[in-house]
Each structure stands twice: as structure tokens, then as C-alpha cells.
């Protein structure tokens, strides 16, 4: 591009709304971090569930929304994260310190798996990821030291004062959710993020301009596995008990898909709104038994049919809002 033909434009990532959002984000994070001093544990416990769901939604969105990898087997890594914490805590490590190691274990396990599943595409990839998750579940069922089909109790928290345990669980969940969100945002703003956005928009096109598709997909797959592993580690720490049939259940994938779909797939903001929507539905309908799943399913179908870009598609476009600007604003120079 030579100087003479260069368009006379101003390019910026952020606009005023984004900068204010950054300030608001820091204030919000500080406020959230002080919550255990302000409210009782029933509220922080709700937030723990919310942060777990948020972590899952954000990482699934990275997979499906950006790399085009529609996985229905992320529960494999939720389980790996949870069981890693179980084993480490059994060896005497503090379960809270074991959380990052749970995420790391999931990431490490996902590397060899990625060499198998990433060769498959579309529906084949989806089924393969599910098969992986089921194999992990069957392997755990046959491991009596992990509790087999009966499940197992997390050690290491028995003598801890409940108030302290609840607060630390909350801070751990907040840290994981914040790290996931900020990590995804930073990742998407780098050159690698540009690669991913290109793959999201047109894979063949991206390949033709030199994006290394396979490498990009592998990185995303491993990062998403780490996120799911962290969520699984949080799950076992908050529930204090793990059962293979439940932690490796495909319902987790259904939740992740719902969160990303409702919120707006392929945006950073979408899964946050999606988690909020799902969470409100879950809280208000939980007492209604099977109706809860029927309503959630119906909402997902209606959203997919009539609002394919999700809630964030509605809000963000109307107000030209970008809370996490990953693209560029191009305006005429003054």
C-alpha cells in the first residue's frame, strides 16, 4: 500500500463506550471480589454456578464460534479436570491449589486427542468428541480407585470452616471466569485472533491467504479443554463429590451450546448474555421438574429460527456497542 492511494481514515480499536466499559469492568471485578464480605454464602454460591457456566460457555464459543469446531464432547475435559483435583487432593494437595493443575491436566490430555478428532469435520467431529467423552467415562467406571460407578468424595476440605471454604470457592470461580474471559479477549486481539476470525468467516478463504488452519484449530481445542478442565475442577470443589455418570454427562454440552446460541455465537459478549439468560431460566424453572427442560429447548429452537445472531446480535447491533472490541472501527479522518 503506497502513501498516495492510502485512504484517509482513522483506525481505532476502541471507542469511548469501550473505554468506559474497561473502567466499569475493573470496578465490577473489584466489587465481585469483595462480595463474600457483603452478602451471605447463598448468594456467592449462586455466583459460583454462574461462573462455572460462563467459563464453559465462553470456551465453547471459542471452539464453535471462531474455529468452527462444534464439539459435543467438552464434558470429557470437565471430567478430567474434576478427577485431577480429586487425585491431587487425595495426595494431600489443597483442592484450591489443584484447580489450575486440573485445567493443565485437561489441556495436556487434549493434545493427543486433538490429533485424532481434528482430522474429522462437521458432524463426524461432533460425534468423535462425544465418543471420546464416553470412553473417558467408561475408563473411570472401571477404575475403583476413582470411585468407579459409585462416585467419590473430595478430601482436604473437611476441617475447613464453611464460611472460609465458601469464600475461597467463590474467589476461585471468579478468578477462573475472569481469566477465561480476559484470556479469550486478549487471544482474539492478537494476530492469532485475526486468523481465527478469518477461519470463522470463511475457512477456505483463510487457508488461501496463508492461515495455518490446523495449527489454529489445535490451539483453540487445547485452550477450550483447559477452560472445561478448570470448570470441572471448580465443580468438584463446590460440590465436594464427583460421580462419573454425572460429570461426563452430555448435558454439559447441551448447556454450553445453549449459552453460546442464545447469547450470540462468534462474539465475546454473547456467551455472557447467554449465561445470564440460561441462569435466569434455570433458577426460575428449576422447581417445575421436566418443564424446565422443555422451556429451555423451546427457547433454543425459537432463538435459532428467528434470532440466529442471538441476544447480543439484537443489543450490540442496535446500539453499535462493542464491550470487548476485537475488530477495528474505521472512520474518515478529521
Amino acid at each position: 500500500m503506497s502513501e498516495s492511494t492510502a485512504p484517509s481514515v482513522r483506525v481505532s480499536r476502541s471507542r469511548r463506550s469501550s473505554i468506559w466499559m474497561l473502567v466499569a469492568g475493573v470496578v465490577l471485578l473489584a466489587a465481585l471480589a469483595s462480595l463474600p464480605y457483603v452478602v451471605y454464602a447463598n448468594v456467592t454460591d449462586l455466583f459460583v454456578n454462574f461462573f462455572i457456566l460462563l467459563t464453559l460457555g465462553v470456551t465453547w464459543n471459542l471452539l464453535a464460534g471462531y474455529a468452527g469446531l462444534v464439539s459435543v464432547g467438552q464434558q470429557a475435559y470437565i471430567g478430567v479436570g474434576a478427577y485431577a483435583v480429586l487425585v491431587l487432593a487425595g495426595d494431600g494437595m489443597s483442592p484450591f491449589l489443584a484447580i489450575p493443575l486440573g485445567a493443565l491436566t485437561a489441556a495436556i490430555v487434549s493434545i493427543p486427542v486433538s490429533f485424532i478428532v481434528l482430522h474429522l469435520r462437521g458432524a463426524y467431529f461432533a460425534i468423535a468428541t462425544w465418543v471420546v467423552a464416553e470412553s473417558f467415562r467408561l475408563a473411570v467406571l472401571r477404575a475403583p480407585s476413582l470411585g468407579g460407578g459409585t462416585g467419590a468424595t473430595l478430601y482436604g476440605l473437611a476441617g475447613v470452616d464453611p464460611a472460609v471454604r465458601e469464600a475461597f470457592t467463590y474467589w476461585a470461580a471468579l478468578a477462573v471466569a475472569a481469566a477465561t474471559l480476559i484470556g479469550c479477549y486478549v487471544l482474539l486481539r492478537t494476530r492469532f485472533g485475526l486468523d481465527l476470525t478469518a477461519i470463522r468467516d470463511n475457512e477456505v478463504g483463510a487457508r488461501s491467504v496463508g492461515v495455518r488452519i490446523m495449527q489454529a484449530k489445535r490451539i483453540v481445542y487445547v485452550v477450550a479443554a483447559a477452560g472445561a478442565g478448570a470448570a470441572g475442577a471448580l465443580l468438584i470443589v463446590s460440590q465436594l463429590n464427583v460421580q462419573a455418570a454425572s460429570i461426563f454427562s452430555v448435558q454439559w454440552s447441551a448447556y454450553m451450546i445453549f449459552v453460546a446460541l442464545i447469547g450470540g455465537i462468534g462474539t465475546v459478549e454473547g456467551p455472557i448474555l447467554g449465561t445470564l439468560a440460561f441462569f435466569l431460566l434455570q433458577q426460575s424453572l428449576a422447581e417445575r421438574g421436566a418443564w424446565y427442560l422443555i422451556v429451555v429447548g423451546a427457547v433454543a429452537v425459537l432463538m435459532a429460527m428467528f434470532v440466529p445472531r442471538g441476544l447480543w446480535g439484537l443489543v450490540g447491533d442496535r446500539f453499535r456497542l462493542r464491550l470487548f472490541p476485537t475488530g477495528y472501527w474505521v472512520r474518515p479522518a478529521r
Binding site: 500500500m1 502513501e3 492510502a6 481514515v9 482513522r10 483506525v11 480499536r13 471485578l29 473489584a30 471480589a33 469483595s34 463474600p36 464480605y37 457483603v38 452478602v39 451471605y40 454464602a41 447463598n42 454460591d45 454456578n49 467406571l141 475403583p144 470411585g147 468407579g148 460407578g149 459409585t150 462416585g151 468424595t153 473430595l154 476440605l157 473437611a158 475447613v160 470452616d161 464453611p162 464460611a163 472460609v164 465458601e166 474467589w171 478468578a175 475472569a178 480476559i182 486478549v186 486481539r189 492478537t190 494476530r191 465443580l235 463446590s238 460440590q239 465436594l240 463429590n241 460421580q243 455418570a245 454425572s246 460429570i247 454427562s249 422447581e287 421438574g289 421436566a290 477495528y328 474505521v330
Partner: protein, 441 residues
């Protein structure tokens, strides 16, 4: 180079790295600030109302395990209407109102843990009761143990509840207790029936490769062989197997005239139909884990006739409630007339949970003091609608044992099939009301 191009070439530059480092430093300083605040100021759980006792209850009211909880609504309505629960627990000179909060585990262990936390953190439950299968009792017990809230469980083999949660013999849970039975009672219930049949003492074992199946394989088979019987293990099959031909041939070849199992209900339906077609007809089948409830019998029809199983509570048990004064028969009849469904054994167990809560909380100085209530629960002995439950004698701390009787399914008058008590070797309180008949004559 234009600004646009410059921007697009952006990789992880020094500036990005600095920004990330800055964010990291910020979060570290936030952590340091929190550290400075100390943990003394944490709010923890609110204390709840001083004059009201809140009792939480968790069971699988929807999902695949819902059969266990069929009678819960009826039982809990009855408990709410009983004198102590309606008018409040009288402790010393004070009367405490009682509030029962019921939660559905949706047959999911995750959900069970979540609702147990809601009961403790939101509803300020003073005690949490739970019933039906390790999928409910174990997660709920773990949450109660960590939060220091008294907890009573039932309808779970004590081995799954105790060893399944990592305890070694003699160790005790600080906040968990339960009442039900275990493998030793299966032995005590089944062996006398086996002895009464004139057989070659060869027992077929159909135990799947799952938690219960492996528990039977590991612990029940030694009891069988030690009891003078010969065991033919059909092999550790995978749950939901559709063809049992090889297992059936094995049992036929060994001429196994007695039959024992602990399968998933659909697997027993498949197995039993194939066994009938292929001519495997044991003289007596004593099943565990299946045919506990009337709903299980419909899938097999006439093939359930004279299959024997264990029964820990029935209208024939000569016991009465400490809450309502009702007899076991009145409780079962009341359920049948109000729901139009046949009685089931979980009616008595769930009713007893609320008897236990009442018994423990009214015999301490302060029912709101969780450690007082818990010490009482660990040493409780009382007689109610499930007979005498005694926590001082259990095989392990925190476990009270019920003694099941042997029953057989027969064609009924009011309902298609009903339970007939045929062997009371373990519990002489319950009169037999039928003869032990061969499953296949």
C-alpha cells in the same frame, strides 16, 4: 506504511505484553488487598430464624429414579399434618415451629448437591434428610458433612454410603447418619429361603460390571461359598446388554437351581424373558435391586410370579408411627386410597426420616444447636413405623440396620401382583402370610 497496515500486522508486541503484565499486577494487588481484609469479616451463612426449625428433604422426584419417590408427597403431607409438626416441637418450655422444605434431585447427583447447598445456605436448614440410592444420598451427605449440618439418609445400602465415600472401618462421619441394610442382611434374608428349597445348592450369579454388581461379586459371593453353596458367576456383563444367551447356557450347564442377581431393572426384564424362552428355570430366584416396587412388575407380567426378593417395610410390619400413631397398614392404605396406586416400601422409610428428626430434636436442650442434635442422632435408639432403629449397635458408626424379610410376588386381588411375606428369619415381628413356593415348579 499506513496506520491500518501497521495495526493489522499487530502480533504480540511489546505493548501488548506490557498491557497483559499490567493487568496481572492489578489482579495481584487486588488479591493482596483481600488478604489484608482478612477472613474474619466473611459473612458466611445467615443464622436463620431462632424460633423456627427448618427441615430439608431431598429425593429423586423426577427422572429415572422417580419410582422411589412415588409416595413422598403423600408421606410429607401426612407428616405436616401430624401433631408435632403442625403444632411445633416442644423442647423444654419452648415450642419451635417446624418448616419442611422439599427439593427434587431430578435423579442427578449434580443437582442433588446443588439443592442440598440451597437448603443449607438459602433455607438455613437445621437438618437435611435424604432418601433413595447413592446418587442422592452421597452428594447430599458430602455437602452436609462439609457445612456442618446434621444429615440422615435412607434407602441406600450402607456399604455404598460408607465405603463409597472413602471411610475405613471404625471411622465416623461428623455430620452423617443413615438407616437401611447391607450385604449381610441380603445373606440373612436369602440363605434361609435357599435352605428351605430342596435343591443341589448351586447358585447362579447375575452381577453386572457396575458399582452394585461389583460389590456383590466382591463381597456377596464369598458369603455364598462360605455358607455351603456353590456359586456359578455369569460374568461381569455390561449394563443394558441385550443378549444373555451365553450366561443362560452357563447356568443351565451347571444346573444352577438357585438364582441371585442385582441388575438394572430393564436388564432383568430382558434376562428373565430370555431365560424363560431358553428353558432356564431355577427352582428359586431371589433378586436384589429389582422388583422392589409394584411398577417393576408390569413389564414382566406373569413371569414375576413367585420371584422372591427382600422387603424392609410393608403394611404387614406390626409397627406404628411416633408422629401420627398410624399403623404401617394405615399408612399404606391411606396412600392407596389417596393416590389410587399400590403401596411401596419407601413410604415407611421416608416417614421414619421425619420421625428420626423429631426424636433427635426433641431430646436435646436446644434443637437449633447442630452439634447437640448430631450427637443425639449418633446415639439414638427409638421405635417407630420402621420398627426399632438403633444407632448404638450399627456395623459402623452412624449406621442403623433394618432387618428385611423375604417376600414373593403373587397374583393379587386388588392389584395385578402383590408381595406376600414368605420368610421372616431375620425379623420375627413380621408374620408370614404365605408359603415359600418354588419360582418354577
Amino acid at each position: 506504511m499506513s496506520e491500518l497496515e501497521d495495526r493489522l500486522n499487530l502480533s504480540i508486541t511489546r505493548r501488548t505484553a506490557l498491557k497483559v503484565a499490567g493487568a496481572g499486577a492489578l489482579s495481584l494487588s487486588a488479591a493482596a488487598f483481600l488478604e489484608a481484609c482478612g477472613l474474619g469479616g466473611l459473612k458466611g451463612t445467615s443464622s436463620g430464624s431462632a424460633g423456627t426449625i427448618t427441615i430439608g428433604y431431598v429425593s429423586p422426584q423426577t427422572g429415572p429414579l422417580a419410582g422411589f419417590a412415588t409416595g413422598d408427597n403423600y408421606v410429607i403431607n401426612g407428616v405436616r399434618g401430624s401433631d408435632p409438626y403442625k403444632n411445633g416441637f416442644k423442647v423444654g418450655s419452648k415450642t419451635y415451629n417446624v418448616n419442611i422444605v422439599v427439593k427434587d434431585s431430578q435423579s442427578d447427583p449434580n443437582r442433588a448437591s446443588q439443592v442440598a447447598r440451597e437448603l443449607i445456605l438459602n433455607d438455613n436448614a437445621d437438618i437435611v434428610l435424604c432418601s433413595s440410592t447413592p446418587e442422592v444420598t452421597n452428594p447430599v451427605a458430602d455437602v452436609c458433612e462439609a457445612n456442618g449440618v446434621p444429615n440422615v439418609a435412607t434407602i441406600v445400602p450402607w456399604e455404598s454410603w460408607y465405603f463409597g465415600r472413602g471411610k475405613k472401618p471404625g471411622e465416623k462421619f461428623n455430620w452423617n447418619t443413615m438407616f437401611f441394610f447391607g450385604l449381610n442382611e441380603f445373606k440373612g434374608c436369602f440363605f434361609p429361603m435357599w435352605d428351605r428349597m430342596n435343591t443341589n445348592k448351586v447358585v447362579a450369579g447375575m452381577y453386572p460390571n457396575d458399582a452394585d454388581g461389583n460389590a456383590f461379586r466382591g463381597n456377596f459371593i464369598p458369603l455364598v461359598t462360605g455358607g455351603g453353596f456353590k456359586m456359578v458367576d455369569g460374568g461381569a456383563y455390561t449394563d443394558l446388554t441385550s443378549d444373555y444367551t451365553s450366561m443362560i447356557s452357563k447356568f443351565k450347564a451347571a444346573d444352577a437351581q438357585l438364582f441371585s442377581n442385582c441388575p438394572l431393572p430393564p436388564d432383568f426384564n430382558t434376562f428373565w424373558k430370555q431365560a424363560a424362552q431358553q428353558g432356564y428355570k431355577p427352582k428359586l430366584a431371589t433378586v436384589a435391586k429389582v422388583l422392589l416396587f409394584p411398577a417393576d412388575t408390569t413389564a414382566l407380567g406373569d413371569l414375576v410370579t413367585n420371584i422372591a426378593t427382600d422387603c424392609w417395610w410393608s403394611p404387614f410390619h406390626p409397627y406404628h408411627s411416633t408422629l401420627t400413631g398410624q399403623t404401617a397398614k394405615q399408612l399404606a392404605d391411606g396412600f392407596e386410597s389417596s393416590s389410587g396406586q399400590q403401596w411401596l416400601s419407601s413410604l415407611g422409610s421416608v416417614h421414619s426420616l421425619f420421625e428420626v428428626a423429631h426424636a433427635a430434636m426433641t431430646s436435646v436442650d436446644n434443637p437449633k444447636d447442630k452439634s447437640q442434635v448430631m450427637s443425639k442422632l449418633q446415639a439414638l435408639s427409638y421405635t417407630g413405623i420402621s420398627g426399632t432403629l438403633d444407632w448404638t449397635k450399627g456395623p459402623m458408626p452412624g449406621v442403623a440396620i433394618q432387618q428385611p424379610v423375604g417376600v414373593q410376588w403373587r397374583k393379587g386381588t386388588k392389584y395385578p401382583y402383590s408381595m406376600v411375606v414368605v420368610d421372616n428369619a431375620l425379623n420375627k415381628d413380621v408374620p408370614t402370610n404365605g408359603d415359600l413356593l418354588p419360582t418354577n415348579a
